[in-house]
Symmetry: C2
Subunit: 459 residues, 2 copies
């Protein structure tokens, strides 16, 4: 075999530490604020929600944080993940670029999400927590956490947005198979849920409501904590195992560092997971690497939002976070990439964008599915709608390399498979996906509602 396609690592090569980009950032991230006092919040405010080890990681500036042995052991159920050279896609695009993708879809729940779910379940179990609550929309995050809780003997209570609960029964069943309880939200189990149901008994629910329910349940019980699947610093930290493995694998493939690193962008964990370890080389050694975050054109916080303090949830219950945001009341169109329908970006990624360390591109849904089908026909794997954003951006880069006549190395994160998203492909084949135009007035309207603290231009 002359052409190597799959670059694997042994279990012993699973990284021993997570990489913390906060140690290398030109500007440190701003602290979260107490929404009442608008003062920086301390760890004690977060203790009812998260175990102390995760709170420490949230504010740490240590460059490398050791991965506990039991977490690394659980990772071996699917890690190290393969890095693929996309020979067939290169041929299909007739590009001189060398395209690589890191494939995270081989995890039990089918995406990169278990990388942090396992770590969070471990630290909760270690602290004596017996149950974790969370919310889920389409179910990708809920299923990852259900799996992780099963691995560490924790109960798992998932508030699943009612409309998804009804429309996507298979993700719910996946969670049940791993022993989790899945409750359609809004529910009768919480004050927040009962209040909504009293006003609107047929409420389809929302991620904002589901967060409120999961948080209320965690705070109400001493042995219960809450878990989030993206946005927060400790979540992004855990995902850096992806990029660290990819660096080793590119070395094995005989490549220098890539010209460009690409990943889909929802709250930041997908992008951070692949890109941050490469940013370490960029920030500490001056390596020339472009890192491109790919967001949906219908939810363009990085390319058309503002950098400002905002709430993490739709209702306004969380601490205020420094983020690129469309405003927490912005309701994105119901694109199939449900995992990317989030109004804001995590603090670390936002600061890096502000400082010009990373770039962002907004991609229309139609272009992403065209890219996904091209990819599936060339490489065999059918990507999740979220992952198609990374594929589309990689194809753009490959076409640019062709125009420039340069054999650039392009790396992207194929963050999950589309086995639970075939209905989305049906809509694409049936011609139901239209190019989506988001008007500036829609964005302005959502931003106009914000009365949260602004961030001075000097920061």
């Amino acid at each position: 075999m002359t052409k190597q396609r799959k670059i694997t690592l042994s279990e012993a090569e699973i990284p021993t530490h997570w990489y913390n980009v906060a140690a290398d950032m030109p500007t440190p991230p701003l602290p979260p604020l107490n929404p009442g006092t608008r003062e920086p919040i301390g760890p004690e405010m977060l203790a009812p929600l998260f175990p102390m080890k995760l709170i420490e990681q949230e504010v740490s500036v240590e460059r490398f944080i050791e991965i506990p042995e039991r977490v690394r052991e659980a990772y071996t159920l699917w890690r190290p993940t393969p890095l693929f050279r996309a020979h067939n896609l290169e041929r299909a695009l007739d590009t001189p670029a060398r395209i690589y993708y890191k494939y995270e879809g081989g995890s039990p729940s089918g995406s990169h999400k278990p990388n942090t779910a396992i770590a969070q379940a471990y630290y909760n179990a270690e602290q004596g927590v017996t149950k974790i609550t969370t919310e889920t929309g389409a179910g990708q995050w809920g299923s990852a956490l259900a799996f992780a809780c099963q691995m560490f003997g924790l109960e798992c209570e998932v508030y699943m947005v009612r409309i998804s609960y009804d429309q996507k029964p298979y993700r719910k069943l996946m969670m049940n198979t791993w022993g989790a309880e899945v409750i359609p939200s809004p529910s009768e189990r919480t004050q927040a849920g009962r209040k909504i149901l009293a006003e609107a008994p047929d409420s389809p629910g929302s991620l904002g409501i589901a967060i409120s329910e999961a948080v209320e349940r965690a705070v109400a019980d001493e042995g219960t904590r809450y878990s989030l699947g993206s946005v927060l610093n400790h979540v992004l930290l855990h995902q850096t195992i992806i990029g660290q493995e990819a660096i080793k694998q590119l070395e094995k493939a005989g490549e220098d560092l890539p010209a460009v690193v690409i990943a889909p962008f929802g709250g930041g964990s997908n992008f951070a997971g692949l890109a941050f370890p490469f940013l370490h080389r960029k920030l500490s050694e001056g390596a020339k690497i472009r890192a491109i975050a790919c967001e949906p054109a219908s939810c363009p916080k990085l390319t058309r939002g503002v950098f400002r303090y905002d709430f993490g949830d739709a209702v306004g219950m969380t601490p205020l976070l420094p983020m690129y945001t469309l405003g927490h009341t912005f309701v994105p169109a119901k694109i199939h990439a449900g995992g990317l329908r989030y109004h804001g970006a995590g603090a670390l990624v936002s600061q890096l964008l502000r400082d010009g360390v990373i770039e962002a591109q907004a991609i229309d849904q139609l272009e992403t599915f065209e890219a996904g089908v091209t990819f599936a026909r060339a490489e065999g794997i059918i990507p999740a709608p979220e992952a198609n954003h990374g594929v589309a951006a990689a194809i753009r880069q490959a076409n640019e390399a062709k125009e420039a006549g340069e054999a650039r190395v392009i790396l992207f994160n194929l963050c999950g498979h589309g086995h639970f998203d075939m209905a989305a492909y049906q809509d694409y084949f049936d011609g139901k996906l239209q190019k989506h135009a988001l008007s500036q007035s829609d964005i302005d309207a959502a931003l106009a509602k914000l009365d949260t603290p602004k961030i001075p231009a000097a920061v």
Copy 2:
């Protein structure tokens, strides 16, 4: 890490040859017969259906048959597949056994089926064939062939049983994504289909009808051939890549040959793929290895059928094959493991069972799903209903090892994931699966209809 879980191979370690068990069998398999003359059929009868290279493989007694370079290259899209040590399952069962599973669910279509689909597509393309037709029930085989045809630039026309077409739209969409045309069967496109529709416009279809349609279309066009996903010798041959990899991986794990090798049984390709390379050691070197084929209790051709010539299809169009069979008119209960609902066993496996080289066990559907959930909670991967038969048999063996107090090595084939089968898990969780009792009179009735040639006891 003290405990190794995943044993991987490099691409260079993909086997260079398929293993042909016919070279080592104590009794050679009987030839297929022309259903009209009842004489052994020659290659010329098969030429309208299959390319010559596959017909040669069908009758070959060469021990090792070289895998073409382009097939090995296509295999690298997902091969070598990992071998896992099931540490968590062992702990859950409290067994001294060392359990390993070969995981074939990481292929593009999610099962072991592409191992032969790729090879068949290659040989067809090499001969100048431009289109392949096939039938599919639940869609597992059709999606594997759709993927393979896409890889070699062939058109693919899949006749999908009407009731599955309506109930399982996602498998159909998977085939569309890889560019295949999927036609609900019975269809207006063939004489066979039109005849059925004239009599029963609302016919739900059957695998037998779909085979008739696919064969009719292949025979009618010079540039079109037909493809089958199991039963035939060349299909089983291509799957032997599984067991060959597993042997290398067990060596890497520091194990001797396993005490027992286990795989689900439908038509034989799953079982043959894992077990035949181990039978080579058993037949040529006298290694003590048990090989157990696991069939559903509701379709027990190996444990309760007869060894006799029978048709491969329900209608009676194919050559007569020497097989353990329940009779080609036997209609198995609609268990969720659709891939195992087949009345007969391939010629090679049937002769090996007759000669006592292999064993068979019938397992009830309820036991298989209990096993599948135990497995998913321990190891993370949610198995396909077919794969659950292998899991259940492995658990039986692990419990036996515990009773005996012996650290036996158990290997089974985890042939596919259950991402498209979550509705089956729902039925299990909802208590809708009952222990299934198949009466002897049902079997006797189907066998009584057989007027095909018997096989003398001396053979």
